[in-house]
Amino acid sequence: MHSEYIIFLLGAVLVTYLPRVIPLIVLSRMEIPDTVVSWLRYIPAAILAALLAPELFMKNGVLELSLKNINLLAAIPAFLVAVYKKNIFLTIITGVLSVAILQVLL
């Protein structure tokens, strides 16, 4: 391994590990005010939506609200199955098949 690569690896380990572990160590043993607890409880829904929105509504880095956006179209049946079936596998299969079918059709 190049020495430059080892330096990169050390740096990358630090900047990815510390943000993941410090909040766990500190907050899991601390008394947290109720307001902060309720803020933390909204984080899962908020962060999943924030990660998902660009994946679905954007294509090649720009907003794409048309029939050309296959991910957005495939998300509709996937969402319906998710809401009515509450099943992880079924949702994934619906989403993946929808993308595959749309890629053939469009």
Binding site: M1, E4, Y5, I7, F8, L9, G11, A12, V13, V15, T16, Y17, P19, R20, V21, I22, P23, L24, I25, V26, L27, S28, R29, I32, W39, L40, R41, Y42, I43, P44, A45, A46, I47, L48, A49, A50, L51, L52, A53, P54, E55, L56, L63, N71, A75, A78, F79, V81, A82, V83, K86, I88, T91, I92, G95, V96, S98, V99, A100, Q103
Partner: protein
Amino acid sequence: MERKEVVISGIKRAVPFLLGYLPIGISYGLMAVKSGLSIMETVSMSIFVFAGSSQLISVNMFAAGAGVLSIVMMTFLVNLRHILMSSSLSLQFRKTPGKMIPFLGFLVTDESFAVSNAFFDQYRERDKGLFFLSLGLTAYLGWVLSSFTGSIIGALIPLGELPGLDFVLPAMFIILLVMQIGGKRELFVALLSAFLSLLFVYLLPDNWNIIIATVLAAAAGVFFEKADRI
């Protein structure tokens, strides 16, 4: 649930996102080797860094000839959102043995965070850490093995080209998001966060849109909760 059952259930619940890791890990391995990294270097990044999206970005930056410092800086920004995930997860690990926490931290990813949050309710307080450990380790092994596979035989199997496979992880996030929405407040938070994320993608560099949207939308949720009580 006995400890053994907790471990087995964690492994089982990792299966859906292993399907998503496979094509991504393989394309990472392929790209890394193509951009000039050795197999050892490619796999060691998966072993030590374990952060899918920033690994892909790093490899791209290596290929473009970027300096070490700027790649590390980028990695930091891409993964900053994990501060929020770990902070939220800390609520679940209050009865988890302290010596387990450093390992749990290493295993926090978008996927392990999302899946574990959908199932924590089913475990006793003291088993939540063990559940997360077995879920996360399964994912970790899957990630390391798929990047190894990608760097060696990826060129022979164009798995990343199969239609629809790129949509495995977005589809998984869709169902996990739906499972997080228990009422009108969570729905409001999710819609606001999605909107803000799209808005800030144009205003802010790197992955700041995700962080800022999450912080603001979750705060808006707290605000409405308090307003409701008055």
